[in-house]
Amino acid sequence: MDRVAIAGVGWAGYRPSTPEVSYKELTYEAAVKAYADAGIDPRRDVQSFVTVAEDFLEGTSIFDEYTPDQLGAALKPMQTIAGDGLHGLATACMLVNTGQYDMVVVEGHSKASNVLTLPEITAYAQDPVLNRPLRLNSDFIAGLEMNRYLFETGTTMEQCAQVVVKNRRNALDNPRAPYGADLTIDDVLNGATRSWPLGEREASRPADGAVVMVLCSENRLRSLACTPVWILGIGWSNGSPSLESREWGELPYIQKAARMAYNQLGISSPRSVVDFAEIDDTYAYKELQTLEALGLCSPGEAGILTEEGYTAADGELPVNVSGGSLGMGHLFDATGLARTLEAVLQLRGQAGVNQVPEVEIALVQSWRGVPTTSGAVAILGN
């Protein structure tokens, strides 16, 4: 597959609540910025549009009917992918590589503040026959997974808490992050328990926001006056949806997605290639579990490396310099796009106070949350 350029990016938010705008207005703001950034007119230049969304979180059935207006996509090919933003980017990459489209727009948004019953909604993602009668809270499943991960790898609760300290401290320097804080490990561990051993402060909180990206072929890029970032590899995979038969300590679907992306670049040792990473931290332990699944460290090593500062903003492999979902808030299926945005700004040298010096290759990864085993990985370069 040929590499695809990210020619323009735009965002709106992120904030815990945005009562003054609708999801359409939020998305419109991000779209206008992205089109200006790429120097394009969506009605004239864009041939296909992709939105990532889920009906229940939108509060509207057949939500895909409500996506064209705010993007300038009326009477154009438009599809909704019920996946993360990285699945949307993968779709755009495939569309460009067919040769039929040379410019595609991907959009993701979260109007989390409209959702009054999030635990009840996520519980509706459980198997209706086998699991839902048990009345499991989704975070209970995360607690089970964290417990198994700690047991199998010897990772400590202090090491998980260090992820919170690091990411929320990083968020203080990110103007898009509403949940920045200067915490200590004791602050995290002495907080309330969400679902043991998962602490309340180890779970990301939702935020409102929207991200829009303009993707195009190498040929099309030549006629644009913009600073491109390239999607060099992208992979995605699902594991077992069943709670009864999945791996609880490891993330085989992330391993598979990463291998797919690495193979497109011919990478066998990602640790020697990747300069920084924006990865899942929906829950703090996921950052550690994911680092190991991505092959960026050995099983059981991520917690130790985090304690030693290896993944700090000034460490050897900065991870979630943006603040991650713990610091920026969780944007539902826009999360992968929000992380890609941070990687794009870093690779362009436009990340401001958070800028990591001399970066060329970024890894972005996302997970679709409890109870799924669905994830994606992208490798970006400048």
Binding site: T60, I62, I81, S237
Partner: protein, 209 residues
């Protein structure tokens, strides 16, 4: 270089029924299994899976695509769900097309699933939530009403009679009588049968078609 040509090499379809006893996963599995058998492939040959299903409220599941993944063969593989409202069943083969035409995959499995009977008391009620929550839903519109409005406008604009439209029902129901997977086939139905039925049933039949 021209675009990569993509072929359909196998297909399978479950029988359409009013209240399937199978779970959504099982329906997806049955159709997938039939498709693989028809072209003598196994899941080992499949590189990625594309799923189409919409909306979630029919199956009564948040992230229905994730729930359906193993039944559709999307285990330990790249798997993605697309939807474009009522056009999803036609769109998901397009999703399969661009997976292959991109050059990223050679063989993909395309699955479309819908189990409307999970919705109580009737799937039609799920359509109450498709309307804009600010500008339309307070008016309590119904899907049948908007189809009736469109039909009325179409008939008025082009001078088409109800009997003309009823001929479409007759044609399709007679065709369906010989389709092994069809639910609503009727080899003997006439235009008079369609026009003579009461309005709600007639419109509902129109939707089912």
């Amino acid at each position: 270089m021209g675009m990569r040509k993509v072929a359909v090499v196998g297909a399978g379809m479950t029988k359409f029924v009013r209240r399937a006893l199978e779970t959504p996963k099982e329906l997806a599995w049955q159709a997938s299994h039939m498709a693989l058998q028809s072209c003598e492939l196994t899941m080992d040959d499949i590189e990625a899976v594309c799923l189409g299903t919409a909306p979630d409220s029919f199956d009564g599941l948040h992230m229905n695509g994730e729930y359906l993944s193993d039944g559709s063969g999307g285990w330990n593989k790249p798997y993605m769900r697309s939807y474009v409202g009522g056009g999803t069943g036609v769109f998901v083969p397009i999703q399969g097309w661009y997976h292959v035409a991109s050059g990223l995959f050679d063989v993909v499995l395309v699955v479309a699933e819908e189990k409307m009977s999970s919705f109580y008391p009737h799937a039609q009620a799920a359509f109450l939530t498709i309307f804009d929550h600010t500008t339309e839903r307070p008016l309590k519109p119904n899907l049948l009403w908007i189809f009736a409005l469109e039909m009325n406008r179409y008939m008025t604009t082009y001078g088409i009679s109800k009997a003309d439209i009823a001929r479409v029902s007759v044609l399709h129901k007679r065709n369906a009588a010989h389709h092994p997977a069809a639910l609503l086939g009727d080899a003997e139905i006439t235009v008079e049968d369609v026009v003579g039925r009461d309005y709600a049933v007639e419109i509902e039949d129109l939707h089912v078609l």
